[in-house]
């Protein structure tokens, strides 16, 4: 066991995989010499050298195109897209090229690559550097998507992503980079598609991921004090999605809530809520509830940003209200 920050877990995760497999390469803007703008990749250049850890121009299409082409020709490359908002400047590469190529070629092309990116708000960066884009990726067939909520998951899910033969988007909540937690020593390898029940409860299922996990856990604590047993599920992997865990819990509790950092419309919460409303409808004791930011871009000032993102208070209040 060692106490690690989430940002340290990122570099340990990358190092673990680069150590293991020499076809793993890592590229991005300011990731090598500078160790990343979030200091998530410090030490990698020194350890793996300037060929395998490499700074790129500000050319997101070239970066993502490069890892796609690299994966087509024998590498298992990892790209960093500094802020997930910048997916928008290379969305064609991600959504039209990487996601579709295996299917279009009827399986001729395998794309074992990873794109990792800093996601979400809470750090007062304003509307163009604070988005939660996990649902953008989830909506595109051909992409796998994980969102680790703590240092250990960061390493384990990342390792699973690198080893997966398909393209995986690893979404890192930037609000968590400073978070510390004990992490087991040695190699950590998790698997894609498994949610974690972080807390058991019999009254309501709260599905959550990323930085919202910690807020939901706080809320659950406070709900417990009021006699409401919340089961908190860290979804962790949006594609593949652990519907078994989600549906089983909902069947048990009869109440279903999602907590999302994303804007209101068409988030992963809408998807999961409608799966629940379709597949375990008769087990529900009340309406599904989605807690999201309002359908607005995130404002920059702390005063407003804090209002926009679901807080433990809001979660407690909405869960209680929904339970009548």
């Amino acid at each position: 066991m060692a106490e690690l920050t989430y940002r340290e877990a990122v570099s340990r995760a990358i190092a673990q995989e680069m150590e293991r497999d020499e076809t793993v390469y890592f590229i991005g803007e300011d990731v090598a010499a500078a160790g990343g703008v979030f200091k998530t990749t410090e030490g990698l250049l020194e350890r793996f050298g300037p060929r395998r850890v490499r700074d790129t121009p500000i050319s997101e299409q070239a970066i993502v195109g490069a890892v796609m082409g690299g994966a087509m020709n024998g590498l298992r490359p990892i790209a960093e897209i500094m802020f997930s908002d910048f997916f928008a400047v290379c969305w064609d590469m991600i959504a039209n090229q990487i996601a579709k190529t295996r299917y279009m070629t009827n399986g001729q092309v395998a794309l074992p690559l990873v794109i990792r990116t800093a996601n979400g708000g809470g750090v007062r960066f304003g509307a163009q550097h604070s988005q939660s884009v996990e649902a953008w990726a989830m909506a595109i067939p051909g992409l796998k998507v994980v969102v680790p909520s703590n240092p250990t998951d960061m390493i384990g899910l990342f390792a699973a992503a690198v080893r997966d033969p398909d393209p995986v988007i690893v979404v890192e909540p930037k609000a968590l980079y400073a978070m510390k937690a004990d992490v087991p020593d040695g190699e950590i390898v998790d698997r894609l598609g498994a949610a974690t029940v972080l807390r058991e409860g019999s009254d309501v299922t709260i599905c959550v991921l990323g930085s919202m996990v910690h807020r939901a856990m706080d809320a659950a604590e406070r709900l417990a004090a009021d006699g409401i047993g919340a089961e908190v599920i860290d979804v962790r992997s949006l594609v593949p999605l652990d519907t078994q865990a989600i549906l089983a819990s909902t069947t048990k509790t009869g109440r279903f809530v999602t907590v999302e950092e994303s804007p209101r419309l068409c988030g992963w919460g809408a998807e999961v809520a409608s799966i629940v409303a379709e597949e375990v409808f008769y087990d529900l004791d009340g309406p599904v509830v989605r807690i999201t930011t309002p359908h607005i871009p995130l404002p920059s000032t702390d005063a407003l940003e804090d209002l926009a993102i679901p807080s433990p208070d809001v979660i407690v209040e909405r869960v209680k209200a929904s339970m009548g």
């Binding site: 050319s59 195109g65 279009m104 074992p112 067939p141 999605l241």
Partner: protein, 338 residues
Amino acid sequence: MSKAVRSRSDKPRTDEAVRLEIYRMMVEARLFERRVHDLFLQGLVKGTSHLALGQEAIAAGYAAVLQPNDLVYCTYRGHVHTLLRGAPMAALMAELLGRANGICGGKGGSMHLTDVSKGAMGSYAIVGAHMPIAAGAAWAAKERETGQVVVCFFGDGTTNIGAFHEALNFAVVWELPVVFVCENNLYMEYTPIRSVTAVENPAADRASAYALEPILVDGNDPDEMHAVARRTVDLARSGDGPSLVEARTYRHGGHSRADPAKYRPEEEVAEWVARDPIPSLRERLIADGIDATTLDEIDRAAERVVDDATAEAQAGPPPDRSTLLTELWADGGSEWRN
């Protein structure tokens, strides 16, 4: 007049055998695409389709110099490139017909012909997208020291999209073994390239923006094309990094099956059809002492190849329903949940 250097081979004409091979490739490609056009008219090719009739010398010039493990990236106008890399003609034809025996099982279609086993790494339908991807494949070649060269074909219109710029700069900075070949057929879809481009030669006049030599070549001259192909592929192979080639050419028909190409002046079309690379190579070969009967035999053989491929393609059934849900993931399936 542009400041681009016109590329003139100072070498003697290429070996006779290679020139005959180039001739054969062009004839096969031409007959293949003509057949595809016939099948359209019969309503058998669904969706769109983009022919390269008249542009064959470019693909053939490169095909003649590439090694088996080299990689080619092309566009929706990529039937010829894929064929000349050695993809089986019947499987290409079957893909256009949407059959189970298609090279992509019918999932790809005309705009996505791919045969990885032959280094035909795909036809890409979003303008410019394949340029960074080709650079990435070249990056892997360099890192893995495979000795591969990557060739990436694209159109004149493509030079105005962002991905072009990013790919060129990236490839030069990382000194990648990739050759970018602009097939300048003077039009994007229906719009003349000169009306939407700041420079006269959309690729060559931009080479210096990437510290590259401007190379402008007559894309309808198979000998010139072959010489440029040899030179640029050799440069890449020997570690001297990327090249950007602009080959001037012309498509005989419209942009796609939907296009009667009325927007082009008749004289322009006539002038370019007169410069068709196939008869002109044929004439030169005869002038250089090749027997006409040798060429006739190549023509006839090509017809047989196309007939056979067509028959084989048409014999294929439509894809099985079950294949709808296969090959999204490497496990062969498309499940997104447990």
